[in-house]
């Protein structure tokens, strides 16, 4: 029953998408005004049908309807309900189905937010996004069909991959990442529409900025949550390993970040327009490449689930999107080129620093892309299996990343247009001293790693600049308008939300830089085997092994080592575990982590012997590592402030080039 219902809904969604894409693109190109409303209606229909298809799959999962192929694959009566619902995205077919639902949600939001604006532009962009929707409907109806009937109907299923039901983070991390990933299709649609029309007005910029910032926020949160999950669940004592699937999420983030910055130059200086459009198209293409890498099975990992048939189909689609993008850039790009005379980039200016920022981000993208795609290309061409080791990525990306941190201090200190010598000295002296003080302090405290010292110095420098840019307008107001501190800060922030929000994001990013540098250069590790009552020592910590314990959940059994940790002000029991799922032969660990603001003490259980008389542990100390994930609220708040619609103020002092046009700034677009 659900099988035929689900397939009918997908066919319906595909039909709506095909119709909307056709009328949107044909009507937009041929300027047939009476067709402009139809892509929007098709988008509503696409959303409703995709959403219903997802609901029917959730229904099948929750009611354990094993006659549906996907449920038979990932369902199990023993799995807790929450993980049963989550298993909608825990395997290939379901994740593509869910991709469709998110695409539909973005289409709905975009169509509602822009229902009264620029009908031709919106018809073209909605048509483009619907064309992508058509492809995914085809994928769901064909190579990745989760609704296929199963016969004979099995009595029970294997349950979702144990790794994915081992931690509650798995409930939040994938949706965030998907919202980030799929959301890049909207700016792609807007950019393509601009290329087709050959114009790039203010409304276009505002809309593009908003619809890029939304997925950018989700993607940032999703990437950090993913690293947190790796740290909290996998027990290998790390959070980032330059794994292909991690890189797949990082690549579009890099280009989107470059894009968010270059758009400021577009607004102010009317230049870099073609470049910015190219970044936008690249971000979408990179999400497709990432989908291909994680879903086609060319890399073996939990993310790639199983060998699948969708690889070639996705590859063909990437080729089409790439071809369309290149052809449009070549044929229409000249219409977006800078106005004559606006090509000025004085060396010491904000616009030059953003240009260099963009080159750095492009450089990191290139380096990561090369390292990620080299192994599968080598295998395809020469048949030899290799991989690219972490040292490559660290050697290449760390210097570039440190340069980005340096620019975070330089850029905001430089004015738009050429800076004179006095401004230069005034703006740089105090932050440089702050950086020197920080590095001196760190050296005195015993930090000796070169990269860590450089990072801390630059973090002091950039942090000082960021706080100055955040607080100075408020302090000026305090003096000039005689306002109390908080009122002055509030008013200065409200008057320049984007600027304020942007710098708050910078605060979060600088924190992450410091946390990564500290936790990767200052980590300590010990490993050992102890009998009951014996101790292991690492740094100030003592771990006493008290004995083994066993337990049982409906979907797994576990063995844990009770330990008691003392030292560094800590006096508590920990219970690192090994979980045994009946569908998997090797145990899945659950490390125990004692978290303090200054450092984490991380204990992972490796093995038991003699029925628990002895146990072997891996111990780690990671300085400041928690600040990576604790930066998430700062990032989100900063992005939300920057996204919050600015009231119409034609004489806006902060962004003269960005006078709001049309209804693009209406609230509720998010």
């Amino acid at each position: 029953m659900i099988s035929s219902l689900g397939q009918a809904l997908i066919w319906g969604a595909g039909t709506a998408a095909a119709f909307g894409a056709l009328v949107g693109l044909v009507g937009g190109v041929a300027r047939v005004e009476r067709l402009y409303a139809w892509p929007r209606r098709a988008a509503y229909a696409f959303f409703a049908l995709m959403f219903a298809a997802n609901l029917s799959m959730v229904y099948a999962l929750v009611t354990h309807d094993f006659s549906v192929k996907y449920v038979a694959q990932v369902g199990s009566r023993a799995t807790p309900t929450i993980f049963t619902i989550v298993s909608l995205w825990s395997a290939l077919e379901g994740s593509i189905l869910w991709w469709g639902a998110i695409l539909g949600t973005y289409l709905l939001a975009y169509s509602i937010a822009n229902r009264n604006d620029h009908p031709r532009a919106v018809a073209l962009s909605t048509g483009t996004v619907l064309a992508v929707g058509l492809f995914f409907s085809f994928l769901i109806a064909g190579p990745a069909n989760p609704f296929l009937p199963v016969s004979p109907v099995p009595g029970d299923g294997p349950g979702p991959n144990p790794l994915l039901q081992n931690h509650i983070l798995m409930v939040i991390h994938p949706p965030m990442l998907y919202l980030g990933y799929v959301g890049m299709v909207v700016p792609f649609g807007i950019a393509l529409s601009a290329l087709i029309r050959g114009e790039m007005g203010e409304a276009w910029i505002v809309s593009l900025r908003r619809w890029t910032l939304i997925p950018f926020t989700f993607l940032s949160v999703g990437i950090i949550l993913g690293s947190w999950w790796a740290y909290a669940v996998l027990g290998w004592g790390g959070y980032w390993a330059w794994d292909p699937v991690e890189n797949a999420s990082f690549l579009p983030w890099l280009t989107a970040t470059a894009f968010v910055h270059s758009l400021m130059v577009v607004e102010r200086k009317r230049t870099l327009r073609l470049w910015t459009v190219a970044l936008c198209l690249a971000s979408f293409i990179l999400t497709l490449i990432g989908t291909f890498m994680t879903r086609s099975g060319i890399f073996n990992s939990v993310h790639s689930f199983s060998q699948s048939d969708i690889g070639p189909t996705l590859l063909a689609f990437i080729a089409i999107v790439l071809a369309v993008s290149v052809v449009l850039l070549a044929a229409r790009g000249h219409l977006l080129l800078a106005e004559p005379g606006s090509h000025q980039f004085p060396p010491a200016s904000r616009e030059s620093s953003i240009l260099i920022n963009n080159l750095l981000f492009t450089g990191i993208t290139f380096v990561v892309l090369v390292g990620t795609l080299f192994p599968p290309l080598t295998e395809a061409i020469k048949g030899a299996r290799i991989s690219v080791g972490e040292p490559y990525f660290n050697k290449m990306a760390v210097p570039l990343g440190v340069a980005v941190l340096f620019l975070m201090g330089v850029g905001p200190s430089l004015p738009w247009g050429a800076a004179d010598r006095a401004t230069f000295r005034r703006n740089f002296l105090a932050p440089a001293i702050a950086g020197l003080l920080v590095v001196t302090g760190c050296f005195a405290a015993g930090v000796r790693s070169g990269w860590a010292l450089v990072t801390f110095a630059l973090a002091g420098f950039a942090g000082f600049v960021t706080l100055r840019e955040l607080l100075l307008p408020g302090l000026t107001r305090m003096n000039e308008h005689k306002e109390p501190v908080w009122t002055a800060l509030w008013n200065s922030a409200v008057r320049a939300r984007r600027r304020f929000g942007g710098y708050i994001v910078h605060v979060g990013v600088i924190t992450i830089f410091v946390a990564i540098a500290a936790s990767s250069t200052g980590k300590q590790h010990a490993t050992g085997t102890v009998a009951t009552g014996q101790e292991l020592t690492l740094g100030p910590y003592h771990l006493k092994y008290l004995g083994a314990e066993n337990g049982e959940d409906p979907h797994r059994t576990w063995t844990a080592a009770r330990g008691h940790v003392t030292g560094n002000g800590i006096d508590e029991d920990i219970l690192p575990r090994m979980n045994f799922y009946k569908t998997r032969t090797e145990p899945i660990p659950s490390p125990a982590v004692i978290t303090r603001p200054a450092e984490d003490f991380y204990v992972s259980l490796i093995a038991f012997d003699n029925g628990g008389k002895t146990a072997s542990f891996n111990l780690w100390i990671f300085p400041l590592v928690g600040w990576i994930w604790w930066s998430i609220p700062t990032l989100v708040v900063g992005c939300l402030i920057a996204l919050w619609p600015q009231k119409k103020r034609p004489a806006e002092a902060v962004a003269p080039g960005a006078a709001p046009a049309g209804g693009e700034l209406k609230p509720g677009a998010a």
Partner: protein, 157 residues
């Protein structure tokens, strides 16, 4: 040639140089940091070229070859191409606690480097026993390559 045009030429030139430099560095570094996926037999066939490269060696833990010194956390064993007695094999040394599932005749993946002493020094040891894993039957070669990345604690995400 106007100043703007000249500046543009300088800019484009600088970009090309920077891009070429980055590409040069990237591919140079790439070559030095490749990890080779080999079986013991394949690695031995490489001769001297295998020395000091980073290698992910996959195979079966040979019978009666495990020596474990818990006091000094020293583990040695032999990894072989297959379960047959005459299968090509390599001695592996590792200062790690063996994971819970580690035992004879099981598939393992070790990452480290091979030296002139004909000993493989492993920094990482992973038991390769995924739920798809089936013991090879008859003369069938153990398909460690399939399970290789699956057992990777890093790739396992």
């Amino acid at each position: 040639m106007t100043a703007t045009t000249r500046n543009r030429f300088i800019l484009v030139g600088a970009l090309l140089v920077a891009g070429a430099g980055l590409a040069f560095l990237a591919f140079g570094n790439l070559g030095q940091n490749l990890v080779y996926y080999w079986t013991p037999g394949e690695m031995l066939a490489q001769g001297e070229r295998a020395y000091h490269a980073t290698i992910r060696l996959g195979g079966i833990v040979q019978k009666n070859s495990i020596q474990w010194d818990a006091g000094h956390t020293k583990l040695t064993f032999r990894v072989a191409d297959g379960k047959e007695a005459d299968a090509k094999s390599v001695m592996v040394m590792c200062d790690q606690v063996p994971p819970q599932m580690f035992r004879e005749d099981i598939g393992v993946v070790v990452e480290g480097s091979f030296s002139e002493m004909k000993v493989f020094n492993a920094q990482r040891l992973m038991v390769n026993h995924s739920n798809e894993y089936k013991p090879p039957s008859g003369g069938e070669k153990h398909d460690w390559k399939k399970g290789l990345a699956e057992s990777d604690p890093v790739g396992n995400k």
